[in-house]
């Protein structure tokens, strides 16, 4: 069992990395304008770089451990740099690391076209420290929003029913969705928002990214299994039944969410669109994430349909309420995360309201979601204020018009005209000479 489980977790963790790069990078990149696609992808890659390091240094320690501080966070120095952990523990750390990576990367969709890259690279580690690690601890690490005796559910209902967040409805999606909303409000709207067309520049990339996200999401959800550790036989039986259930629930909820989103589009706009299908995939995956271990396949279909439909309606809110969440992190991740987290209160087999379990589960789910939202909003606000004071959040107007790819990275994604310009030399000493020699030799040959 142990070897098999270890191998399974290696695959699961690798699949979650696939979700961020290339999955999310392509999904978001395709939805950006052509002058901003590289910056959007770079925010995913940047999140990967920073989070991987921060997680090993203090992320794991703050999320999981024995030195709890006020049921809100664990002591960052308890296992700083993974001290005291052994090689076999590392896959658990690695799997959780990939969750922190994609959660941070998800936020980038709200800030497309206008956030300084340096501000992003400072925001990510600070936000993880103040928002992600504490909420991960509160929900999964023995804190206030989880199954602990003195947690919300413990105090209200003696821990029965326990809060349900299988793979990160609150920790990942509500957390990222709220952070996206707060950042979008603090950054302000893109120049021309609501007036100029800001349509996706390449929906084929977005469709490909959505497909890769779906594929990787199996590692995300199925890999989140936790064993009670009663006996090897009991663990093996649980492994078989639970991974099968989670896989199937993840799949059918996503299928249903595609249909839910497309149905809303067909009724509202007259056409079912490819962006709608790709968005439905993500909405369904988000919603089933917290609930995938607690629902029946039929319940998952209902949840997916509702999530697809509600998220399709929610993405229009930004135009009505006037905040510029560029790629709909709020409409898809916050709303989808809420649908899944609260939906588990209705649909969890045994404890859900629709299954005769009374309102207790629903109340617990709503309170946990509210707790995560409040914490994430406050933490993001503080972090964004700090980053703004230190280096500023937004590129200036002229740079935004010119395009953030060119201004922040010195690159453009596409050379469609073939008019690449002439070579002006190199930033590397001696490189220009070496390369012109090579060109000459090539010509002579």
């Amino acid at each position: 069992m142990e070897h098999g489980y270890h191998a399974f977790m290696l695959v699961a963790a690798s699949l979650v990395i696939l979700m961020t790069a290339p999955g999310l990078a392509l999904f978001y990149g395709g939805m950006s304008r052509s002058k901003s696609v590289l910056n959007m992808m770079m925010m995913s890659f940047g999140a990967l770089g920073v989070t991987g390091i921060v997680y090993v240094l203090w992320g794991w320690s703050m999320s999981f451990g024995e030195s709890d501080i006020a049921m809100l966070v664990n002591n960052p120095f308890e296992t700083f740099g993974l001290s005291g952990l052994e090689g076999a523990d590392y896959i658990g750390v690695g799997f959780q690391l990939t969750f922190a990576v994609i959660t941070a990367a998800l936020i980038s969709g709200a800030v497309a076209d206008r956030l300084k890259f340096s501000a992003w690279m400072l925001f990510v580690p600070l936000w993880l420290t103040l928002s992600y690690f504490p909420i991960a601890h509160m929900v999964w690490g023995g804190g206030f929003l989880g199954t602990a005796e003195n947690g919300i559910a413990g105090l209200l209902f003696d821990g029965d029913p326990a809060p349900i967040d299988y793979a990160g409805g609150t920790v990942v999606h509500i957390n990222a969705g709220v952070a996206g909303l707060v950042l979008a409000l603090m950054l302000g709207k893109r120049l021309g928002f609501g007036k100029e067309p800001m349509r996706p520049h390449n929906l084929t990339l977005t469709m490909l990214g959505a497909g890769l996200l779906w594929f990787g999401w199996y590692g995300f959800n199925v890999g989140s299994i936790v064993f009670p550790g009663e006996s090897a036989d009991a663990d093996a039986a649980l492994f078989l039944s639970e991974t099968s259930t989670v896989w199937l629930n993840t799949t059918v909820a996503t299928c249903a969410a595609i249909l839910g989103w497309l149905l809303v589009e067909k009724l509202r706009d007259g056409k079912a669109t490819s962006l709608g299908a790709a968005s439905g995939v993500v909405a369904g995956l988000v919603a089933i994430t917290p609930a995938c271990g607690a629902l029946s396949p039929l319940g998952s279909i209902v949840l997916g349909l509702v999530a697809g439909g509600l998220c399709a309606m929610a993405v229009g809110l930004k135009y009505r309420l006037g905040y510029d969440d560029a790629l709909d992190v709020v409409g898809v991740h916050l709303v989808g995360g809420l649908v899944g987290t609260v939906g588990a209160g209705f649909l969890a087999t045994g404890t859900g309201l629709f299954y005769g379990g009374g309102v207790a589960q629903l109340v617990v789910q709503v309170l946990v979601a509210l707790g995560a939202m409040l914490w994430a909003a406050a933490a993001t606000f503080v972090v964004a204020l700090v980053v703004k004071a230190l280096i500023g959040l937004r590129v200036d107007e002229e740079q935004e018009v010119e395009g953030i790819d060119l201004v922040e990275h010195g690159e453009s994604a596409y050379d469609l005209t073939g008019s690449g310009g002439s070579r002006r030399g190199s930033t590397l000493p001696g490189a220009a000479v070496a390369s012109s020699d090579t060109e000459k030799e090539g010509a002579n040959a």
């Binding site: 067309p197 349509r199 996706p200 589009e265 509202r268 706009d269 056409k271 669109t273 962006l275 709608g276 968005s279 399709a312 993405v315 229009g316 135009y319 709909d328 409409g331």
Partner: protein, 112 residues
């Protein structure tokens, strides 16, 4: 001599080229352009947000021909490029004062 300029739907370009070649036209200048006529582009919807896309992709063909052939060539283009639906395009003819072949310096009809 006349300059014939035609703006047509992109998917009709191959048909028009073949018809003109059959007639005996030896060369032309073709470019990908965008524009709009009376139909004023079209509407696209992304996550429920509507965008008016004013410019529609078209193909522009330019041919310089002898006066006598101009009428026939316009007829061929119109007949081949027509679909009967809105946005089929336009063809217009303008006078050309002089034409010079760059390689030889030949002028006017000899340069065509």
């Amino acid at each position: 001599m006349k300059l014939i300029t035609a703006v047509i739907k992109p998917h009709k370009w191959e048909d028009v080229r073949e018809a003109l070649e059959t007639f005996g036209v030896t060369g032309m200048t073709v470019s990908e352009v965008s524009g709009y006529g009376r139909q004023k582009g079209h509407t696209e919807v992304y996550r429920g947000a509507e965008y008016d896309v004013a410019l529609v992709p078209k193909i522009r063909i330019e041919i310089v021909v002898a006066d006598a052939d101009a009428g026939d060539i316009v007829g061929i283009i119109v007949k081949t490029a027509a679909t009967g639906r809105i946005g089929d395009g336009k063809v217009w003819v303008s006078p050309v004062e002089t034409v010079t072949r760059v390689r030889t310096g030949e002028q006017d009809d000899a340069a065509l």
